[in-house]
Amino acid sequence: MQGQRRTMMGNQAITQGALEAGVRVAAGYPGTPSSEIIQNLANAADEHGLYVEWSINEKVSLEVAAAASLAGLRSLCAMKQNGVNVASDFLLHLAGSGIRAGMVLVHCDDPGALSSVNEGESRHFARMLELPLLEPSDFQEAKDMTKWAFELSEEIGNLVMLRSVTRLSHASGGVVPGTIPAPQGKARFDHHGTLLDKGHGPVSSSPVAYKHRLQQEKLARAVELFEDSPFNSYVGPESPELLVITSSICNLYVKEALALLDASGRVGVLKLGTTWPLPPKLLQRHLERCDRVLVVEEVIPFLEENVKIAAAEMAGEIGAKRFFGKRDGTLPAQGELNPDLVLKALAGILDLPYQARPKQYDRLAQELAPQATQERDLAFCPGCPHRASFWSLKEALALDARDGFICGDIGCYSLAMRPTGYGMLKTLLAMGSGAGMASGFGQFGRFGMDQPVMAVSGDSTFYHAVIPALINAVHQKSPMSLVVLDNSGTAMTGFQPHPGTEANAMGHPVPPVGIEAICRSLGAEVTVCDPFDLEATQTAALALLADQSTAKVLILRQACALSPQRKGTKPYDVKVDPEKCLGDQCGCNRLCTRVFGCPGLAWEKQSGKARIDEVICAGCGVCASVCPQGAIIKSERA
């Protein structure tokens, strides 16, 4: 029974596909653009009898999902692109050992790094670890392909990778939902067979030679199925001038570009949903159509290279081809694609003129562009505890006057590399790497380095990857200071719970594992402060910097301004007394607007005074502590 077509977000379509496939267990770690998949499944958990968790990190989430598969439960694991790096050690071994019930790893890439500090390519793991890869190209396919991925996984006995991208995961489009089966079957892990008994024996990737051959046979079976997959389709004339080979959301860009160029009659489009390994017979059929091939995909030329290898292997049958794509610069190999970039590439190859809008309008728009493109830099929200935290850390480091610095980490507070956080972060790399690098920097006093080092971490990041780095720092006696910016949830990705919260993904009560308790158990000194108390925070940070004997921890705890507990609340009414405000005179020079820079503040040029924008102000009252004149007045709201 089919439902009525609905407009679903890509991630919701993937969720729907998993539910229709009878998924029983789902696990993941939050990361844009993947987070809604686990969140949606968690929301559906009680209704459909699932177990869903936000795991401590991606590797553990994959292990949890793998356990489900081995216990006979279909499972899904979801993460963002670089999450696959975290999980990849386990993924390598799991790919070698194989699975039992259907298991799908959904990995969402972020071409253009719209919400990432990388545009890493997780597709390569499929080739590297010899696992089948599927890439949906629209919303309906996201649902259908997810459902089919479970069947494929069981058919071949190995995990299936399903790759989405931001513009699919976070876009929405029409999906006709199917039915969701009632949960059935009892979980049980069979382990009494021999090591070679894949259905009943112990699970391992060894004996390696045997298991590896088995794994490659599974992959070969997947290719056979791919040859006839409905997810690979061709649209266009029998013998086009140009064959476009594409996958993922790029398919919609190609469709758009061809419509705008009115070139559908000249160009054939082979849309591939099964992108690794490529099905050679299918490919040969289409490569034979013409001599010119444009491969349209985002970031690194993964598909392009694989198509070229296949074309080389069948060169005797199909002849030499002229390829356009990343390698020849027809399309950029960094950043995301869009219809205009694809259009430009097609117009160039086909020698077609294109003018999106009248030239005169275009000129006018260009003239006005400098005004319109005025920077609207990302900023901490009004009322954000991070602004207050970095304000105090900045002042403490300045007072300490040894050119100390902060190693950053991944979360909302990554913005502290930008003006909103006073440019305080001097390294910003991977999850947990702030603490790990600080542990290293702390050791270099022996080489004459006299700069103190701090690391910041969010609460969720602390659990994910900081704990080992902190243990390392304590054990190695590295004089670093870890500042945990505890805003009580995984704020960046939408307040997912973590091991420190009192409810799990499904909303069920669980015992919180406190950050203080963990740090103290490691032997690290721990101080806890409210970052809204600027003076206490600065004092605590200075004390941390003064003590260069060992690793220390400062927890700055204040809930995120958007968190369920704070959102919509306004603890203080804040206003400026224009009589007291010094404005840009000596003695202030607009400290609140020019330097502190909360979006809730405004500068009245005419009067030369600061003002509170009551629409934006979250009423945290921190600016009242920043004002040197006591001109910003906060009063508790009734």
Binding site: T7, T32, S115, G173, D362, A365
Partner: protein, 206 residues
């Protein structure tokens, strides 16, 4: 179900604003109302880091015939629904064309660079002038002020939807929107939101 007829297919609508203004909610509710008319709606949006005070855009493609790219090609917007005036300009410069229309909430949100004095926010008349040059038809409405009168600035996005409906460009009916409000927000929130919708409609439709 009979599919509503569109003046352009796909009809390209961009809802723009600043992170935190309720862009995403507005685009989804609108998308659902149009879907319930039997139309295909593809919505492209970015969120995550861009929610934090940055410029945000939702691209809505409304079609009688399947999904379109979640990114509208340059110069191809039919309507810009802007929760913030500078964002209206930013969008029109890239996606505007001589036939483009815009509904603009007149209340500026200063970029951090403007608050700190590193950049200057354009003067109201100057901004209005530029928007006028880039549009065939334009409505400037005090949505935030009206929303504050209703109790919270966040109602501005509903006021904007009401205004959009009143242009008649898209098949959005009061009944359809009421049904979506009920579905998305629950019965308690329907009356105030419907009031916001009516306020917006009145400001455009008269």
């Amino acid at each position: 179900m009979a599919t509503a007829k569109l003046i352009h297919d796909p009809y390209n609508l961009i809802i723009t604003g600043v992170g935190g203004q309720g862009n995403v909610l507005a685009s989804r509710m609108l998308g659902n109302v149009l879907t319930s008319q039997g139309l295909w709606v593809t919505i492209g949006e970015t969120f995550g880091a861009s929610q934090r005070g940055g410029s945000v855009m939702s691209h809505l493609r409304v079609s009688a015939d399947g999904s379109w790219s979640p990114q509208i090609p340059e110069g191809k917007a039919h309507m810009v629904l802007a929760l913030e005036p500078l964002e209206a300009l930013r969008v029109l410069v890239k996606y505007g064309n001589p036939q483009a229309k815009a509904i603009v909430n007149s209340r500026p949100i200063l970029p951090v660079a403007a608050i700190s004095g590193k950049a200057e926010y354009p003067a109201t008349e100057e901004l209005e002038g530029m928007l006028a040059q880039l549009t065939a038809q334009r409505w400037s409405i005090p949505a935030t002020e009206k929303a504050m009168e209703l109790g919270a600035s966040i109602f501005a996005n509903i006021i904007m939807i009401g205004a959009l409906a009143a242009t008649g460009d898209l098949p959005v009916s009061r009944e359809g929107f009421e049904a979506e409000l009920l579905r998305a927000l629950g019965p308690a929130k329907v009356p105030t939101n419907l009031e916001a919708y009516d306020l917006g409609a009145a400001m455009v439709g008269g």
